[in-house]
């Protein structure tokens, strides 16, 4: 009885011989499944990054260090230590830039390896190579902006003075203008990542 | 007989040659921990037992008896007469019955 049962089981098991094995692809060169959202190696878009430090703050493993730029406004850019990173994707969620995130890991590579020794592994970074020309142009733009701003500030001061005078004169309080809330780096959780 | 002995000797020679080929090509780097016993990756937690307590002696004895039976059958290979073969099958029946009885008894002894 037991024997017959076992023989039955054997026949059933050998049905598997008919099934084509799913391992048909040489996975050294090709991924079996690589969805659009796959969280792999990061890319940092230094042009859109506003240097808000949100990604650094949220990273649960401190994989991100901010590289300092000789700029005033966007003075930092994230760099990721891939040996440390756990590819949780929180930094991408936290990044506030729109419509494209400045730090993106969706759709990245899976086959990131690095060398053996601890020092070699330490050199395993996503570096942002910023061409000097870009920095120069940004510096120029910043200069221009600063000049513009100064001008604007002067103008505003003048206007404000004028307004104050006008207000005094009018003796009736106009409602003060709503101040723009400065960005405090809070990630916006209500936004999903479009897949 | 002689052929077999020559065969055995040359097989032994061949295997020894293979073994020494392997040993000659293998690296050799002993050290204290490497030569320690494997204990699931930890230092040994007690001595290797020098004895084993094994409750299967009954089976060992049954093994001997059944082996003897087999040897008897080897001798029956050469019987030509009908009476001899009938005797042999009777013999087989008796021993089979004895073994069944003995296992029954053993099972009974185990369960109580």
């Amino acid at each position: 009885m037991l024997l017959i049962d076992i023989v039955k089981k054997m026949v059933r098991v050998s049905k598997a011989l008919m099934v084509k094995s799913p391992a048909q692809v040489d996975v050294r060169y090709e991924a079996m499944h690589h969805p659009a959202r796959y969280r792999g190696e990061h890319t940092v878009d230094y042009e859109t990054c506003i240097g808000c430090d949100a990604c650094n703050k949220i990273c649960p493993v401190h994989a991100i260090t901010m590289k300092h730029l000789p700029l005033k406004k966007q003075n930092i850019v994230p760099e990721v230590n891939l040996s440390v990173c756990i590819f949780c994707g929180l930094c991408e969620d936290a990044c506030p830039t729109k419509p494209e995130k400045s730090i993106v890991l969706s759709g990245g590579r899976y086959d990131m390896l690095s060398g053996g020794w601890h020092e070699e592994q330490n050199d395993f970074w996503v570096n942002v190579d910023i061409p000097q020309s870009y920095i120069d142009s940004r510096l120029e733009a910043e200069d221009a902006a600063r000049v513009k701003k100064e001008m604007a500030a002067k103008k505003r001061a003048a206007q404000a003075a004028a307004k104050a005078e006008a207000a005094k004169r009018a003796e009736a309080g106009e409602e003060p203008k709503k101040e723009q809330k400065p960005f405090d780096g809070t990630p916006d959780f209500s936004k999903g990542v479009e897949g | 007989m002689e052929t077999f002995l020559i065969y055995a000797a040359s097989v032994a020679l061949a295997v020894f040659l293979l073994y020494f080929l392997g040993v000659a090509l293998a690296p050799y780097a002993p050290d204290i921990i490497k030569n320690d016993h494997f204990e699931c990756g930890l230092p040994a937690s007690s001595e290797v037992p020098k004895k084993a307590n094994f409750g299967f002696f009954v089976y060992a004895i049954m093994f001997i008896v059944a082996d003897m039976t087999g040897l008897f059958f080897t001798l029956f290979v050469y019987t030509d007469s009908q009476q001899g073969t009938l005797m042999a099958s009777l013999f087989a029946f008796i021993v089979a019955f004895a073994i069944i009885l003995a296992t029954k008894e053993h099972r009974y002894a185990e369960n109580t």
Partner: protein, 99 residues
Amino acid sequence: MFNIEMFFAFGLFSLGLYGVSSGRDFLRIFFSLEMLLNAVIMMLAITAHHLGMTQNIVLAYLVIVLATLEAAAGLLIFAAANKVSGVIIPDELNGEVEK
């Protein structure tokens, strides 16, 4: 008709005798018992070959069977004694049983 091979059979026999009588542990007593029986088998085989006493071979088979069964029964007694009293050397058994 003395044959030089018989000499060795006697040697084996007396070795077995020594082993049995020197009173050591069970295992070596078994060894020596087997040796005794094998000396007998040897004699039978030698006489069968050299003296043409072919029936002796049949006797030799019987002795082998005897030897096996004896070993089996002896080992059972040994195991039982060991289980009951933890004895390895037969000399100790006397004392154990009296206890």
